[in-house]
């Protein structure tokens, strides 16, 4: 393996895994990890879950930092350049621009992730937050600690987890969703409804098919005005309306940008030495023969490792193939999804009986099993992932479901 310098841009999950994997693979050259945030790499899923719980230590003891600074610097020998975003990539000079410094690379992995979309005209209004970063989560938690009446905009996974956290504290919470059914793009119509029923059952006021027309307040949010003419009084608004890949800094760099950095099966950007990983990448997933951009923990971690291996040894580059997987925790239930949500048919093979029985829904495309969703189905979800991985047919999947239900 060559030496030289590896530069990883984006100091979060995918970036950290890239740096760690390089060392594990025996890379002896220099590694520089560049991150826009001041913080050491930390884990995001807990930010909308345990981190929001009452009594979580505000002194920072429960900050989900992956590694202490000593491990990164001394054991892994990683140079940390934190608190400054990369401003540009210069392929001709093989350099990344960070503030007034140009960092030369022989191999680069870009893992700048995604940023939360904001609502227009809410800048400067205190009490309106997105939830993507640790700083966001600290602010949201402080407001919940203060007993904020909360409005969540968007009934996606993050908004729904915030709603669960607020209800756990007994706070009043309203979730506003513009679509008639939440999560349609993530899990499809039928299962979106089943998931939404968890909100109602837990006392969350879920309003679908209405959008936010205005957020009012004098310097600080006071109320939210909805498209049906109603208003909701609020001290805290959490906006969970999706993300944009963080590619703005790459405009004009020669990389192909189209809802993410477009890469081939090996996570190669097409620019010599430069690979990409995590939420920022749109690559061709051989498992389904199509392009996708995933925003899931597991694929970000795996891509970080795969991208750096390929960057260090391009001649031996291997495709990264995966059956997408994500989880989300709502109230007392765990939602898990494997595969793809676009389907010709979604069949519920086990009905959800809250607290007593898991829910299982299978997704069919053509005559193939392409997805599965479970609520409280920890013991079966990964078996469906296995079936999808090995290209199982629909009949085989139904037979398996029948056998599991009987068991």
């Amino acid at each position: 393996m060559h030496g030289g310098r590896l530069v990883v841009v984006g100091a979060s999950l995918a970036g950290l895994r890239a740096a760690e994997t390089a060392r594990k693979a025996g890379f002896g050259g220099a590694i520089t990890l560049v991150g826009a945030e001041e913080h050491l790499p930390y884990d995001r899923p807990p930010l909308s879950k345990a981190f929001l719980d009452r009594g979580a230590d505000s002194a920072g003891a429960c900050v989900p930092t992956f590694r202490p600074v000593e491990t990164l610097r001394d054991e892994l020998g990683v140079e940390l350049v934190l608190g400054n975003p990369a401003l540009a990539l210069h392929p001709a000079r093989k350099a990344v621009q960070v503030f007034d410094r140009e960092i030369r690379y022989d191999h680069a992995v870009i893992a700048t992730g995604a940023t939360a979309r904001r609502l227009p005209a809410t800048e400067g209004l205190r009490g309106v937050h997105t939830l993507r970063t640790l700083d966001d989560a600290v602010a949201v938690r402080a407001a919940l600690d203060a007993g904020a009446r909360t409005v969540v905009v968007g009934a996606g996974f993050i908004g729904s987890e915030v709603a669960s956290g607020a209800r756990k504290r007994g706070l009043e919470i309203t979730v506003v969703e513009a679509l008639p059914t939440p999560l349609v793009r993530a899990v499809g119509q039928a299962m979106g409804e089943v998931c939404a029923s968890l909100h109602r059952r837990n006392g969350t006021d879920l309003r679908c098919g209405v959008s936010v027309t205005e957020i009012q307040g004098d310097g600080r949010v006071e109320r939210v005005v909805l498209s049906d003419g109603s208003t909701v009084e609020a001290d805290l608004v959490v906006v969970g309306v999706g993300t944009e890949p963080a590619t703005g800094w790459l405009e004009g760099s020669g990389l192909t940008l189209d809802n993410g950095i477009v890469c081939d099966e090996t996570l190669f950007t097409g620019v010599e030495g430069v690979y990409a990983a995590g939420d920022v990448v749109r690559w061709r997933n051989p498992a389904f023969g199509r392009q996708m951009r995933l925003e899931h923990w597991t694929s970000a971690a795996e891509q970080g490792a795969a991208a750096v291996r390929n960057a260090l040894e391009p001649a031996a580059a291997r495709p990264y193939s995966t059956v997408p997987y994500f989880w989300s925790d709502w109230y007392d239930s765990r939602i898990q999804f494997v595969g793809l949500p676009q389907a010709d048919e979604v069949r519920v093979v086990e009905e959800h009986v809250p607290g007593r029985h898991r829910c299982v829904a299978l997704y069919r495309e053509g005559d193939r099993l392409t997805g599965a969703l479970t609520i409280d189905g920890q013991s079966v979800i990964m078996k469906y992932r296995g079936l999808i991985m090995k290209n199982a047919g629909w009949d085989e999947a139904l037979a398996f479901a029948e056998q599991r239900r009987a068991a």
């Binding site: 899923p45 971690a301 920890q378 990964m382 078996k383």
Partner: protein
């Protein structure tokens, strides 16, 4: 080699099960069951992938 699970860390997401189904299984109570306490013949790679894939770093090998 023995497989060690840190129960306090494991959140039963089952990623290990998808990577090494012959060794790991999560039940509906969210408890991780080890089908084998040691790494079975020919399963070293799968078990290592499971250890690396665990989001809470709850798995390790001893011995």
């Amino acid at each position: 080699m023995e497989i060690i699970v840190d129960r306090a860390r494991c959140t039963a997401l089952g990623i290990c099960e998808s990577l090494a189904p012959e060794v790991f299984e999560v039940d509906d109570q969210g408890d991780l069951l080890l089908k084998s306490n040691t790494v079975p013949e020919g399963q070293q790679g799968e078990v290592e992938a499971a250890i690396a894939g665990c989001p809470t770093e709850a798995l390790r090998l001893r011995g």
